[in-house]
């Protein structure tokens, strides 16, 4: 088991290395000079030179990378060009709505997705299964931002039940925070729930075809017990994988949802940074999102050890 852990950690370090190189290179794809691009067309030559020096762009590329990584591992992602703050501070200021949104969306996704998948698998081939399969397929075909806009039209414009956009922080009031996050979380969560439902269905079908399920049924175990004790429990490992896969979708989806609902989170910060040519922010968030995704997936992998003893003793 410790060998398994060591191997996983080694893989983690390598992937993080690759992730850091990619995050670094992406913002160097700017045609010409990033310093010039950030300062705009009317910038004076000496300002551009000063900016280049400040950002370390006058150094050779490998040296720039090493310096950037050395600072990044200590939590220093450079300074935002536009809001004149350290990137880390800018992200931390806006992390609350993003985290809450992702958490709520994942709750929606799991509480809709897993039961849907289980019901679909248990009634395989029935009209219930066929309609659920079609509905989930339709749900993954809908652009998340369009679903969000339709929710706004229905619940904010027509019914006036919920605010159409904006955010109130937790410090300003819990119930109000929830009202602002409800529609974004539902639009993001429903689309992810469709993916989870599809994966849960196939994981359950796989397990339901196993010998031990047939044995359990043959010995007369109550169907409910077979479903939950024998089948769902064993389907948990692939379902955990799906939860891991959905994290990346949530991170990206939160960016879109924050834009649709004007929620001042990390996602909206990135989108606004694009037109401001604030590359340090884009780079920092990109790196952070990948790191969060990789770490969560590692933690989920470690949870397999708890869920499935076969992996523990292998």
């Amino acid at each position: 088991m410790s060998q398994y852990l060591a191997r996983r950690l080694a893989a983690l370090v390598i992937v993080l290395g690759v992730v850091s190189v990619i995050s670094f290179i992406v913002t160097r794809l700017v045609p010409g000079d990033p310093a010039g691009a950030m300062l705009g067309l009317e910038a004076r030559e000496e300002d551009i030179q000063a900016m280049r020096k400040r950002l370390g762009l006058d150094r050779p590329l490998p040296e720039q990378y090493v310096r950037w990584v050395a600072l990044a591992v200590r939590g220093n992602l450079g300074d935002s060009v536009f809001i004149h703050k350290p990137v880390t501070a800018a992200i931390l200021e806006r992390i609350e709505p993003t985290l809450l949104l992702m958490l709520l969306a994942e709750t929606v996704a799991l509480s809709v997705g897993i039961p849907t998948g289980v019901v679909s698998a248990l009634r395989r081939g029935s009209w219930i299964d066929q309609s659920l399969t079609f509905i989930t397929l339709a749900a993954v075909s809908v652009p998340e931002f369009w679903l969000g806009l339709n929710l706004i039209i229905l619940f904010a414009v027509q019914l006036h039940w919920l605010p159409s956009s904006g955010y109130l922080s937790l410090a300003e009031g819990h119930a109000a925070t929830l009202r602002y996050l409800l529609m974004p979380a539902v639009s993001l969560g429903l689309i992810n729930s469709a993916l989870i439902a599809r994966m849960t269905r196939s994981a359950m079908l796989e397990v339901l075809g196993q010998d031990y399920v047939r044995t359990a049924r043959a010995k007369g175990a109550p169907p409910r017990l077979v479903t939950y004790r024998h089948a769902l429990k064993n389907a948990m490992v692939p379902i955990l994988t799906v939860i891991g896969l959905s994290v990346a979708g949530l991170l990206g989806g939160a960016t879109v949802a924050e834009t649709v609902f004007a929620i001042p989170g990390v996602g909206l910060l990135v989108v606004n940074s694009v037109s401001r040519r604030d590359y340090p922010i884009i780079q920092g968030v990109l790196l952070l999102a990948a790191v969060v995704n990789v770490v969560i997936n590692l933690l989920l992998d470690l949870m397999y050890l708890l869920v499935d003893p076969r992996i523990r003793y292998a």
């Binding site: 339709a138 414009v157 990346a248 990109l286």
Partner: protein, 277 residues
Amino acid sequence: MLRFWRELRRRKLGMAGVFVLCAITAAALAAPVLATAPPKKLVIQDRLSAPSAAHFFGTDHLGRDIFSRILYGGRTSLWVGGLVAMTSALFGLLLGLTSGYFPRVDAILMRVMDGMMAFPAILLALAIVAATGPSAINVVIALTLVYTPRIARVARAAVLTVRNLEYVQAIEALGGRAGRILLRHIFPNTLAPVLVQVSITFAYAILAEAGLSFLGVGPSPIEPTWGNILAEGRQYLQNAPWITLFPGLAISLTVLGINLMGDALRDALDPRLRGGN
């Protein structure tokens, strides 16, 4: 191939998907014929008018005809989506085949692929287009970079399942060249899963392109795309919901069509799911 087509034809939903996709593609191709107005023509006095006989899908804040804009926008969306699917398939297959067949290359390539897949797709694409500038070709490059590792993964897995089978080892023992073995004996076995993955990529690419357009880094700020028509309609949700309704429907229908086709493809190509003869 023929048997495969028969398999596919038996699946009604899949055929419905193929039909929807073909119909929308045909409509986009025939945009100059079908359009009721030039897509960029401004008629200010007609602005924000509801769907009517003159404007099937209504007009936007500049009085442009939404129906015509969607037809022309479909060209960009389908073109970008299709190109992304094809280029990712090409590079994904190349990388997947080499990676699956040469263990030494595999160790390095797959770590790079893992690293690329660690990024949320839309964020990575957003960052690439933000750096390189919004244009159709940059969107295609960004999305190709995003989806290539996913196809490479699938192709690699398919290679690994046949890599050590007797027939491959036999040809190797007979002194067959690696290139020939890969192309003649291994590549055909990767086609089925890769084809399914490519159809999924096509669907994702259309959604991602629309998403990027919506976030303001799409293929074109001037030419209509489904995503940017939607984005421009955001300010008018209250007075003119049709501006966002119809392009959203166009995207959803197209992607649903592709997904139905992809699902049927997967079933048709999976011998375990094939019902009887």
